[in-house]
Structure formats: C-alpha cells, structure tokens
C-alpha cells in the first residue's frame, strides 16, 4: 500500500466543507468513501465498524455509515443528532468535514455545520431528483452564502448512468437557483457506493468530462478574496504584562477578520473614532511587518488610548463599517423556546456582548417551498425569519454578504444563557441579496 508522505507537507491549505443529506441519499457512504479512498480509516476503526455492523444487523456486510455515527444514543435510534466533524488529508490539502444530518427538524444543525464552510456538498438521489430536502439544503447554503455548492447527483448506477437523467436534474436545479442566487454551482454525477467520480473517474460515465469530487475539493479556492476586504480587527483581550522588562507594553490581541494589516497603517478605533497608527504586530515572540486574515496577532499602537474588548480597529483610509444600534438580520432560530418578540436577549457579535430587543418579525421563510410567510410570525426552532433588532449600544458591523465575521451574530437567552438564534446582518430591509 503506498502512503502519502506527509512529512514534506507542512504548508498545505485547509478546506472546510459541509455535507447535508439523509442516510438514504448515501451521504454516510460518500463520506466513508472519501475517508476510505484517502486512506484515512485505520484498521482498528474498520474492525470496530465490522463488529458493530455484525451486532446490529447480523450480516457480514460492513456498514460504512457506522463510521460516521458517533454516539451510542444515535446508533441505537439509527439517527444522527448533531454535527460531527471528520478529518482527512490528501497530499494536496487538509480537509475538515462538518457532517450534518438532513432531517427536517435539524435545520439548526445544517446552519451550524455550514457556518464555517468554504464548500457545501448537497446530495441528490438520482432516482428521486430534487426533493424538498434538497431545496432546504440549498436554501441554507444560500442563506450562509457558501462560496461553492457541489450538487452531487448520487446513485447514478441505479439510473443506468444516464446522461439524460443527470441533465434533467441539473436543469431542474438551475430553476430553483433562480430564487436562491447561489454563488457557484458545480454538478457531479457519481456513485458513492462504487466510488464512481468520488476519487476516481467513472468508467461508466464517459459522457462526463468534469472533475471528480475529490479533484474539486483539492482545487476550489479557499476563502477567496478575504485579504481584499477592508481590514477588520475586533479586540479580544488587552495584553499588559506589568513586568519590569515589558513595563509599558500594551498590546491588543485579536484575530484579523478581513483584509491585511501592516505596521505604519493609520487606524481608527470604533466606536470612539479615535485615530492612531500601528507601530508593531506581534505574534508570540516574533514581530511581523504585516498580518493577514484570519491570523491571531497582537497589535501595538503609537498612542496610549483607551481601548478594550469589543472595540473594532479598522484602517482609516478604507471603507468604514456601519455603526448602528438598529440591526436588520435574517435569523435561524435554534431553541425549542420560541422567539419572544419584544423580549430582551444578549447579542454576541465579534468580541462584543450587548443587550438587545427583537423588535419586529417581518417575514418567515418556508424553506421547503422557498416562499415568504407574512401572516404567521411565530418563530420556532428551525425557523428562518427576517427581523429587526435594537441594541443598547451600537454594533460595528458589515453586512453578512460583505464579511461573514463582522456580519454575523448569535442571540443568547437572558435567563438560560443558551444560544437561541444565529443572525446574518443585512444592510437594510430592502437588501435584495437575501430576498427570495
């Protein structure tokens, strides 16, 4: 068995992708296939799965789905209750899979799993074509503005590897996309069970000249353009050593969430609008001349100004973020207790934590039909809605479509402290990028 020599690859890129679909679509088989063909499954794991397959079904057939069903509670009930993370590497890249279940009640898991994804894989059973669930998954991908969507049309072996079936589904999907405005859609016909077009090119579908799934995952760009965005730096923590050696050291620690910062840059601190200049960018004991998204660094400024956690540093010469206490956002509700319109919540945004009120629900989205509902405004778990909020202090934000870090927030219940909602900020109610 030839193994990838990993030693030489200290400088690979990391790609995060999400998968959504039910067991019936062959999602677990697909993941099992990716892990297996990239040699990321070890013998003891395979042995454990063989034993479990035998115990559960009494057959000698290895059920690859068991590789991805983690908890005993899930295996007993034959369901997946939560997002699971899987890891594999090829000599070209490292991958993190956020594997989410596709049941109707788990929109919240799909949103969670997809929130950091560069690519979303949507599985469609070639025999069934586009079903409600495919629309739901596609809607979530569009809501989170995932840069690339791979529509994996699976089980081609069961439709005689028919190009006509593939084209028909493709056409149907493009019709839905007119409502969704997905950024980039790529269609791949495959059979995960036999491995056709997963890692190896299919011999059964000579009519398909495109890349295999793995070739796509190895080549699609990772977080495109993030360094071209206006620079954003939320202060996480103020570093003050108070030691003899570093007596006057005052550094602002945080993670760059857009753009590039360089020593010498003129910066503005928000919300105070105080101005200063970067004199040093520290990373541990090293000093850098510039730092990129999403690097964690410590910034030192020319002036001693009052800056604390939650403040935002931006470049004075670049496009400024919004500073406003009236926020318009699309939210996904994550909790079994419905949204309380007029109720107070804690809003976590960047490194800020501010109290706020959800003032109004404008509409709710029926993600099965992709239609807006305006007459029923009760927001329950897994619902997606467009709301207006008002925060006690202004937030410093960009719209989610411009910057997913400074444009996202979570809503926390004031009493239980649970995370009850996830929000994507829209510039204003009329922002068309979200309207369907």
């Amino acid at each position: 068995m030839s193994e990838p020599k990993t030693q030489g690859y200290l400088d690979m890129e990391l790609l995060r992708f999400s998968t959504a679909g039910s067991v019936d679509d062959g999602k677990s088989t697909l993941i099992g296939r990716l892990l297996y063909d990239s040699k990321s499954i070890f013998e003891d794991q395979l042995q454990a799965v063989k034993e479990a397959s035998k115990r559960l079904s009494g057959s000698d057939e290895v059920n690859l789905a068991l590789l991805t069903d983690g908890l005993r509670a899930e295996r007993e009930q034959g369901i997946t209750i939560d997002v699971a993370y899987r890891y594999f590497a090829t000599p070209k890249r490292k991958f993190i899979i956020a594997d989410t279940p596709g049941h109707i009640e788990y929109t919240r898991n799909m949103v969670t799993g997809a929130s950091n994804a560069d690519v979303a894989i949507i599985l469609i059973d070639a025999r069934n074509g586009i079903i409600e669930q495919s629309k739901r998954h596609s809607y979530v991908a569009s809501l989170l503005q995932i840069p690339y969507v791979i529509v994996a049309i699976n089980k081609m072996d069961l439709v005689d590897y028919s190009e006509a079936v593939f084209n028909k589904i493709k056409e149907e999907y493009n019709k839905i996309d007119k409502k969704l405005n997905l950024k980039n859609i790529i269609f791949v016909p495959m059979s995960a069970l036999d491995g056709d077009n997963v890692v190896e090119k299919s011999k059964n579908m000579p009519w398909y000249n495109g890349p295999t799934l793995l070739e796509l995952l190895e080549s699609l760009p990772v977080r495109k353009n993030e360094n071209e965005l206006p620079a954003r730096f939320s202060v996480q923590y103020v570093i003050r050593p108070y030691s003899d050696e570093f007596h006057d050291y005052r550094g602002y620690a945080g993670r760059i969430s857009g753009g590039v910062l360089r020593v010498g840059d003129a910066i503005t601190v928000l919300p105070s609008k105080t101005k200063s200049r970067i004199v040093a960018i520290d990373e541990g004991q090293k000093s850098l001349s510039e730092a990129f998204t999403p690097q964690s660094v410590t910034i030192r400024l020319a002036d001693n100004i009052d800056i604390s956690r939650g403040d935002l540093l931006v470049k004075t010469t670049e496009t400024q973020p919004m500073v406003n206490a009236n926020i318009s956002a699309l939210i996904c509700w994550l909790n079994h207790r419905p949204l309380n319109v007029g109720g107070k919540y804690i809003i976590r945004h960047g490194t800020d934590e501010i109290r706020g009120i959800i003032k109004e629900v404008h509409y709710k989205v029926n993600i099965n039909t992709l239609e807006n509902i305006k007459d029923d405004k009760t927001i329950k778990m897994n619902d997606i809605a467009h709301v207006s909020m008002k925060t006690m202090k202004p937030l410093k934000y960009d719209s989610y479509s411009q910057n997913s870090v400074t444009g996202s927030l979570v809503i926390i219940d004031e009493y239980t402290f649970e995370t009850v909602g996830a929000g994507m900020i829209v510039a204003d109610i009329e922002d068309m990028s979200f309207n369907i």
Binding site: L10, F42, G70, V83, A84, V222, S243, D282, I346, S408
Partner: protein
C-alpha cells in the same frame, strides 16, 4: 505580498489562540488541564504564544494518578518553570485515601476512571469555571461531536443532546451558578497536525516519545511497560524491546509501540504509514465500544 494564504498549521494555530484568548476574556477562573502528553504540551506552547509577553493568565492543573512515568513528571516541572506558569496537582491517591474514590482490583486495574473524581473535586476546590483540555475531535467518535466550548452541568456531566450550537467564531461561555465549561482549543487538529506543529515549532518532548529500550510485556496484543504500577500475570513474560509512546497516559493505560523512530521526522513518517489509530493502544478505550462516551457523560476530560 509574500504569502497571503495561511498554511493549515498557521490557520489551526490561529484558531486555537483565538479560543484561548476567548477563554481568558470570558471566564473568571479558567485552568489548563495538563497531562504531560504531546497534546497538552502543544496547548501549553499555544497559551504561552497567545499571551506573550504577559504571563499565561491561568494555572495548569495536573490530575496525577500516581502511576505516571517518571519522565512525564520531570518534563512537566521543567516546562512549568520555563513558561513561568503556576501548577496545581490533583492527586488520585489523595482521593482514594479520603474514600472519595475506590481503587479497581485485578490485573487490568487502572486509575483512569478514578481521575474523573479527582478532576471534579479539584475544579470544585479552586472554583474553576473553565477547564481547557487538549482533546481533539479526530481522536475518538464521541469527541467528533464535541464543541469548542463544551457545557457541563453542576455535576460536571456532558449531555450530548443539550450542547449549545456553535456558529462562526462566536463562542458562548455564559453559565449559571455551579455550571462550568470544558474548552478544547485544538479540537480541529489531527494527530498529524500536532506532530507537524511540534516539528515546525521545534518543541522539545519527553524522551518517552522517542525510541528507547525498555522492559515490557504483552497483554491482549498491547505492549505495556513492566513497571510496578501494573500487576503482571505469571504467564506474561518480561522482554526488552525498542519502543516508544505514541500517546502518553498513565502507565496502566499507555500502550507502547515497537519503533526505532528517534527524530520527529521519523515519528511523522511512522504515523503517516500507520494503520492503527493512536487510541488503538489505549486500554481505557477498549473497555466497551462507547467507553469514551460513558466517561465523558460522567465528567471525564
């Protein structure tokens, strides 16, 4: 622009440092659980980097089963001194002496499970509200669903069905009185990432990770160190072999690997071609298929 794309190691490091700083900012009394294994060593270096030039703003907590390899303890004390950190030791032996925990009997007796009692007692004694751990999601299937910020109830228990959703980079560490969090900054690292990072950053490791000659014996296909902490059956013969540790736990649950790897490059090569997971040699996971899930629910690391 020289290299505007971060490498996977840089990106993982950056994510972990972000999480460590969130913990320092969001909690009143965090602590870093330090076992002396490579994952907690990487955590210690990341913490040093995250707050430099200030001191690491939380103490290290070592739950000592009393069955540790001597090398682990020597290494631990040296590292603590080098990083200028504060160390708190929770002793399983004390928990046993106080009647808080009962020693297992028999040849496979281990204090692994008893650690949970000592851990929870130590967290309680010092009123820690967040315990940082070096667990990784690729290690074990129950861990694949773990959050960065893992909520524990007042009994220290993990309820997999009631974890808070985690989106983007927004971590919610708010809690009721008595509740606390386990936080796992290196959740997204794989075993290979950890080794590559150790190589890249030139981090010194306990000698146990490199090949050495040692008296060992074999039980159920796993090679153990022949040391007084494990009672041996008469049929289990002592041999001298060239071995190294792929993971380090306490003596009773650490399986050794036959290996001649004496450099980080060799170790990485060996892991790249290994067909067994690193926990494949961990006796604590072999107890049942859901051994980790069960221990986590009780409040294990």
């Amino acid at each position: 622009m020289s290299n505007s794309k971060l490498t996977h190691l840089k990106e993982l490091e950056s994510e972990s440092i972000y999480v460590l700083r969130e913990v320092a900012a969001q909690f009143e009394r965090p602590a870093l659980l330090f076992s002396g294994g490579k994952d907690s060593i990487v955590m210690a270096y990341l913490a040093y980097k995250a707050f430099y030039p200030a001191a690491i703003p939380f103490p290290f907590v070592h739950i000592d089963t009393g069955h540790n390899f001597e090398e682990t303890i020597t290494y631990r004390d040296k590292l603590i001194q080098k990083l200028g950190a504060k160390l708190i030791v929770g002793s399983v032996e004390d928990s046993i002496a106080q009647g808080r925990a009962v020693e297992e009997k028999g040849f496979n007796a281990s204090r692994n499970k008893l650690q949970t009692v000592t851990l929870l007692d130590t967290l309680e004694k010092y009123k820690f509200d967040a315990a940082l751990g070096g667990a990784r999601r690729d290690e074990e299937k129950a861990r694949a669903k773990e959050r960065f910020f893992s909520h524990r109830d007042e009994f220290g228990q993990w309820n997999p069905k009631n974890q808070r959703p985690e989106l983007w980079n927004l971590f919610n560490g708010k809690k009721q009185m008595g509740e606390h969090f386990r936080v796992f900054p290196i959740s997204n690292w794989t075993e290979m990432d950890v080794w590559q990072y150790i190589l890249q950053e030139n981090i010194p490791l306990p000698s146990l990770y490199y090949t050495h000659e040692r008296e060992v014996f074999e039980r159920d296909g796993i090679i153990y160190a022949a040391l007084p902490a494990i009672s041996r059956r008469e049929t289990e013969k002592i041999e001298i072999r060239r071995v190294r540790c792929r993971t380090i736990g306490d003596i009773t649950c650490t399986g050794l690997t036959l290996s001649t790897a004496d450099s980080l490059e060799d170790i990485i090569e060996e892991i790249a071609s290994s067909r067994i997971t690193e926990r494949g040699g961990r006796a604590d996971d072999k107890r049942s298929e859901a051994a980790m899930e069960d221990r986590k629910k009780e409040g294990y690391f």
